[in-house]
């Protein structure tokens, strides 16, 4: 009897044990399931509509069938939270990065999250030469499904006009940010959208701005004042020259750095309308006395007064960065990625890398930053179109935006997201580089500056202006502001 009771007790105990374990397993599964997939479809209402006409993109859960018919499926839970349709298969991405750990890591995180959430298998081509490597495939209409348009070796304008990009107008107009009830058009900064004949072919993902960088600690030690406008720039440069320092440099081999970060903000200070006209290559805007004055100031500053660091016009990134970090020069024109790009150079220099808007504006003008949107595009010949469109919606999620912002040192494009300096520094690992970038982003997001947007792609015009900036900077050079303007104007209006 006692033996029977013992056995029975043991059996009951085992049942309890298994029940408990089973319950635990069950609970764990449920929690895991909730954390990786969108709300349960146990109580859903499904609406399906079919339409014919242009397959001009897909929004939310729209599914193009590829034969001129678009099947739109919208699935909602009773709680009003959208449930995404099941995806499967593959996705191939082309992503340019400067191969820094942080940028690559940011993309990898987002891609992993996308794979976990959808079950799609992603192949990502990431690196600094990826655009060149992939160009042959784009030419042969065998492109990757989605491209992050950044770096050299790719022209968004050429790809767009050649029909390489998929029309994502309806994705923008009617689509939702992945796994949310947020319409894309409601949260993307409309200033960053570009339309070509009414069609949207590129989706903004992140944004950035340029200006000048300086060592705040060195400035303080030497009683230099960071200049807010051209008059103050001249004052600082005069003081610096007396102390044996050059005032300004940029990688002359890529003079577009000077153009984008030093000259164009001065153009932007005259407002969005003038900037748009200028960027579209309008002869009236480019030939305007305002631009001529900027070029004259630049020539006087670099050539006549000799405040440009020698060797600038043929120097590459490494050379100018090295000379600037060793205090041969006070200001360098660059984008927001400079602290990350040069972190190894200045780590031991006791350097306080600080950003400032371009001082090329006139006295009395408000400091201005020119915001450039960094965009993604889906290939018109994408083999996994649904997955590519889902990925575009996925990277617009708040968490994806945060991950990419922190890893790149860029700003997001969602108007409903507030920039949080503390969070930025924390998420970026609290390094000196992230502190510098965070401080720059904080400045850009403050009311100290006006924000003007750079949305046009201006083809060869930018190259011509950049080359002329080098010519105008040369001491003893034969180029004059008039001759430079004449060359630049001859390029205006060309495709």
């Amino acid at each position: 009897m006692k033996k029977s009771i013992r056995i029975l007790t043991l059996l009951i105990g085992l049942v309890f044990l298994f029940s408990a374990t089973g319950c635990n397993l069950f609970i764990t599964e449920e929690v895991t399931s909730t954390s990786i997939s969108w709300p349960s479809t146990s109580a859903t209402t499904t609406t399906t509509s079919t339409g014919t006409g242009d397959t001009t993109g897909t929004g939310g859960a729209d599914t193009p069938t590829g034969n001129g018919t678009t099947t739109a499926t919208t699935t909602k839970t009773t709680a009003g939270v959208r449930t995404e349709p099941k995806l499967s298969g593959k996705l191939e991405l082309q992503i340019f990065t400067n191969e820094s750990q942080t940028a690559d890591g940011g993309w990898t995180t987002v891609i992993n999250e996308f794979e976990d959430a959808t079950g799609v298998s992603v192949t990502a081509h990431i690196g600094s030469s990826v655009n060149t490597m992939m160009s042959g495939r784009w030419k042969k209409d065998n492109p990757p499904d989605m491209v992050w348009i950044d770096g050299s070796g790719i022209s968004d304008l050429v790809y767009e006009t050649s029909g390489k990009f998929y029309d994502i107008t309806s994705l923008y107009e009617d689509g939702y940010v992945y796994g949310t009830n947020t319409r894309i058009r409601d949260v993307i900064d409309p200033n960053m959208m570009t339309r070509n004949n009414g069609k949207i072919m590129r989706m903004p993902l992140l944004s950035t701005a340029g200006g000048v960088w300086y060592d705040a600690k060195f400035f303080k030690e030497n009683n230099f004042t960071v200049p807010n406008n051209y008059t103050e720039l001249l004052t600082m440069a005069k003081q610096a020259k007396a102390a044996g320092y050059a005032s300004y440099t940029y990688p002359g081999m890529y003079a577009s750095y000077c153009l984008s970060n030093f000259i164009m903000p001065a153009v932007a200070a005259y407002g969005q309308e003038y900037t748009d006209q200028f960027l579209s290559g309008s002869k009236a805007a480019v030939g305007d006395s305002r631009f001529k004055k900027i070029l004259q100031n630049y020539t006087d500053f670099c050539r006549t007064d000799g405040y440009l660091m020698p060797s600038t016009t043929t120097a590459d990134h490494t050379t100018v960065q090295q000379r600037w970090i060793t205090h041969k020069c006070l200001l360098i024109a660059n984008g927001l990625w400079l602290p990350d790009e040069t972190r190894k150079l200045w780590a031991k220099q006791n350097f306080d890398m600080t950003w400032h808007p371009s001082p090329m504006i006139e006295e009395g003008q408000k400091q201005t930053v020119l915001i450039t949107a960094k965009k993604v595009a889906v290939a018109s010949k994408a083999k996994n179109l649904d997955n590519a469109l889902a990925f575009v919606r996925f990277i617009l999620r708040e968490d994806s935006q945060n991950t990419l912002m922190y890893s790149f040192g860029y700003m997001g494009v969602r108007t409903d997201m507030q920039f949080d300096v503390q969070k930025f520094v924390r998420e970026a690992g609290g390094s000196d580089a992230s502190l510098s970038t965070a401080s720059a982003l904080s400045y850009i997001n403050s009311n100290k500056v006006d924000r003007v947007y750079w949305n046009e792609s201006w083809g060869q015009l930018g190259d011509i202006i950049a080359a002329e900036l080098n010519n105008l900077a040369m001491k003893g050079g034969s180029a004059t502001v008039d001759s430079a303007l004449s060359k630049i104007l001859s390029e205006c209006g060309k495709p």
Binding site: T161, T314, A315, T319, Q460
Partner: protein, 300 residues
């Protein structure tokens, strides 16, 4: 009759061998070299960005190229680089070769010099440009000048003010080693008895150099001149691209860079093809002319 004899001379298996190895090679050559070349010629008559549809523009690309002052600068720069490179490499490679073969260096000493002169040939062009950029841009060159008591300075930096002389110098520095090896082997092939006979006749070192050495190695000198000419016009790009990027402005543009810039920065592939075709024609004409001139001189 002779052809028939030759035909008869080849056995069936030999003919089979020729067909088996000749035809695939020929087809490969046509596919890799001839087809792209004709395709480039055809594309040069189109306005094309390399991706989208092509638009027939006839000779417009050529007209634009000839009216572009940057193209003129590129041709002039190419000619200057080639001319001075020829001069420096020919003179120095021959001089070094003569020194290392005719001067009384020990075997080990001669080996060290050969290694040192040949060293630039095994360095990557990126390393070379990096090193020389440091020399000219970071003040090392100024320090060397000061060491010798020269307080010369360059207002915009040496590379910005004198891009072409510096490119010529570095390109020549890179090229001397390999041609020096060719010259050494040519000089070593000259019979020692000739030099001994000359010495007995009372000829000094300089007389021996100009009457024996140089006339004997003239075929190699001709090869060197034509080889530098043809390789330079295409290869100047390799140095200019990482060194100056064609700058400052367009001051150090060469034709290769002009083509590269049009194709890969401006995405004007039709235009770039037209420029590339002109570059090829100029190279062929120049090489042909120089080759003919030297051959005539040799015949005399």
């Amino acid at each position: 009759m002779l052809q028939q004899k030759r035909k008869k001379g080849l056995s069936r298996s030999q003919r089979g061998f020729l067909w088996a190895f000749g035809i695939p090679t020929l087809l490969l050559y046509i596919y890799i070299c001839i087809v792209p070349m004709f395709s480039s010629v055809l594309d040069s008559f189109y306005q094309w960005d390399g991706y989208g549809p092509k638009t027939w523009v006839g000779l417009q690309n050529y007209v634009e190229i000839f009216s572009d002052p940057v193209f003129h600068t590129s041709i002039i720069n190419d000619v200057l680089i080639v001319f001075f490179k020829e001069l420096l490499i020919c003179v120095l490679a021959t001089a070094f070769a003569v020194s290392l073969t005719r001067a009384k260096f020990s075997r080990a000493e001669s080996g060290v010099y050969r290694f040192l002169f040949y060293l630039p040939n095994i360095l990557s062009v990126i390393v070379i440009t990096r090193v020389w950029k440091f020399v000219f841009e970071l003040g090392l060159f100024d320090s060397i000048l000061q060491l010798f008591g020269f307080n010369w300075t360059s207002p915009n930096g040496w590379l910005a003010d004198y891009p072409l002389p510096i490119i010529i110098f570095v390109a020549s520095w890179c090229g001397i080693g390999s041609y020096m090896i060719i010259m050494i082997s040519a000089i070593n092939n000259i019979s020692k008895e000739i030099y001994e006979a000359a010495e007995i006749d009372g000829a000094g070192q300089f007389r021996q150099l100009f009457s024996i050495t140089i006339p004997t190695i003239l075929p190699q000198v001709r090869y060197m001149i034509v080889s530098i000419l043809t390789s330079s016009l295409a290869a100047n790009l390799n140095l200019v691209l990482p060194f100056t990027g064609g700058g400052p402005g367009t001051k150090s543009y060469v034709m290769g860079y002009y083509v590269y810039h049009a194709a890969y920065t401006e995405f004007e592939v039709g235009y770039a093809n037209a420029a590339a075709l002109l570059l090829m024609l100029i190279s062929v004409v120049l090489a042909g002319t120089v080759n003919t001139l030297i051959a005539r001189k040799e015949d005399r």
